[in-house]
């Protein structure tokens, strides 16, 4: 039944998917939070940058971004991410960079919607006791905002997990790349496709359930 799996490192490929997802998730959470902070800051220049960034990056197809990291950044501008002589490492790092750039814009919007759920009185109270903008954001607004956007962020994480398959386009040896290889050799599209689809469900379903449960537990009851 599953004899076509012989000789292929399916788990290794999914491990690569997990690594891509984890690093990109952490990176885009940090960068996305910074972007969200820019978009609500009192400085017009920062607000403008944040708005422009999100609206441009969000509307570029991910494939274009990922292929550009390889063909544009690496080949033309010589950005080799500290791995000029190892295409495997280089491709992986470029892919993570591309995913962070792209996913951060969605993270930013999710967090910003969370900021909008925090009542204005909270920020006003923070100002009244003499906190400045960054303290207000860090200590009062963001902690409340994060608690209300765990659900939307879970969606972004699940989308990111599936988006990592685009890295196959620049030769990162993750699940989708192995799937291509196997279909090329074994000529069993449906069975192989089903195995990989199942693999992604195994990755994303618990993520969704766990974060859904967290979102319920941590939601700010107002």
């Amino acid at each position: 039944m599953f004899d076509f799996l012989e000789g292929y490192d399916v788990l290794g490929a999914f491990w690569m998917t997990v690594k891509l997802t984890a690093l990109s998730a952490v990176g885009s959470l940090i960068w996305g939070t910074l972007l969200a902070a820019m978009r609500v800051s009192p400085v017009p220049l920062m607000r403008g940058f944040g708005t422009a960034y999100v609206n441009i990056v969000r509307n570029i197809p991910l494939t274009v971004i990922i292929v550009f990291t390889s063909l544009g950044l690496a080949d033309i501008f010589g950005v080799t991410m500290g791995a000029a002589d190892n295409f495997d490492v280089q491709g992986f790092r470029l892919a993570v960079l591309g995913f962070i750039v792209y996913t951060a814009s969605f993270v930013c919007e999710a967090i910003r919607s969370g900021i909008n759920t925090v009542p204005l009185g909270q920020a006003e109270a923070a100002r009244a006791i003499g906190l400045n903008f960054s303290q207000t954001l860090r200590l009062i607004v963001l902690p409340q905002a994060f608690r209300s956007v765990i659900g939307p962020l879970a969606n972004v994480l699940i989308a990111l997990t599936k988006n990592t398959t685009v890295a196959a386009a620049i030769g990162v040896a993750e699940a989708a790349a192995l799937m291509k290889t196997m279909i090329e050799n074994e000529a069993q599209t449906l069975a192989i496709g089903a195995v990989f689809a199942f693999g992604f469900v195994v990755l994303t379903l618990p993520t969704g359930l766990l974060l859904g449960w967290l979102a319920k537990r941590l939601a700010v009851k107002r």
Partner: protein, 281 residues
């Protein structure tokens, strides 16, 4: 009221989409079965993105060696050029397209392998290709042993990419890209030293006007790729007809003409026409 408008509009779109897919299914005409042409159409699967083999031109016409072979075969089966409906069959879709009868024949750089033979039947082979390297005009790469330590480019998951890793250059740096065009770009910019895949495909790329005179084939015979014409499993009648057509194409000189026309400019030395049913391992 606004919401109701949106709902109506989306319902209309949905209905359109459904009807569009519904009429995709009824175009199965008399192209299956006896192969007596008449007023019917024949659907043939080709690649759309491989210059010299199967390429969809900007004006909507098709060119390439696979296209020429398929056109000749269709003619022998009783279909004129204007009765052929070309369908794009990407590498991963080929077996399913035949099994579902989306297409009658597939001529899309389809290498005959034992695994694929379990799924589809092959007529031919009609061309013996070899994995080779495309390098810059002034490159010094001339043997497979030169490859270790060089930077190669190929398409993710392709047989050629696997051969490099597993067999003849495990130490080479392999950059994998989504398509050959990306690899050519990397080769032009100097990010890689060579692009590797079947020599027929490389010749097709090198023969394009925009690349003329920039690249050459290294002339290594790294593997044997026997291109066959895929036919639905069990359709022996069609296989035999296609084989007869291919034999005729070779004997009346059309085969050599098609080779010269499509691969000529790149300095591609083609193998003599393969014998039907003889697969070079």
């Amino acid at each position: 009221m606004k919401l109701r408008k949106v709902t109506a509009a989306s319902a209309a779109v949905l209905a359109l989409a459904l009807s569009a897919t519904a009429c995709g299914g009824d175009s199965n005409d008399d192209s299956s079965g006896s192969g007596s042409g008449g007023g019917g159409k024949i659907k043939i699967g080709i690649k759309y993105d491989q210059p010299g083999l199967g390429l969809k031109e900007p004006d909507g016409s098709f060119s390439g060696f696979d296209v020429d072979v398929a056109t000749y075969v269709a003619k022998q089966l009783g279909y004129d050029a204007n009765q052929i409906e070309w369908v794009e069959t990407k590498s991963a879709d080929r077996e399913n397209a035949l099994a579902r009868e989306d297409v009658k024949l597939i001529a899309a750089t389809y290498s005959i392998t034992d695994e694929r033979k379990q799924k589809v039947d092959f007529a031919g082979p009609y061309l013996l290709a070899h994995q080779d390297l495309l390098v810059k005009k002034d490159s010094k790469i001339s043997e497979a042993t030169d490859l270790n330590g060089e930077k190669l480019c190929s398409v993710t998951g392709s047989t050629s990419a696997q051969n490099v890793k597993d067999d003849f250059a495990p130490k080479a740096q392999l950059k994998q890209q989504a398509g050959y065009s990306e690899c050519i770009a990397a080769l032009q910019s100097g990010a890689v030293d060579a692009l590797t895949t079947d020599d027929s495909i490389l010749a097709g790329f090198a023969a394009q006007d925009k690349y003329k005179g920039q690249f050459k084939l290294a002339g290594l015979k790294l593997s044997n790729e026997n291109y066959g014409i895929g036919v639905k499993k069990g359709d022996t009648a069609t296989v035999n007809k296609v084989n007869t057509a291919l034999e005729k194409m070779v004997s009346d000189g059309s085969w050599q003409k098609a080779v010269d026309k499509n691969f000529g400019p790149a300095g591609y030395k083609n193998e003599p026409a393969p014998k039907i049913g003889v697969i070079v391992k």
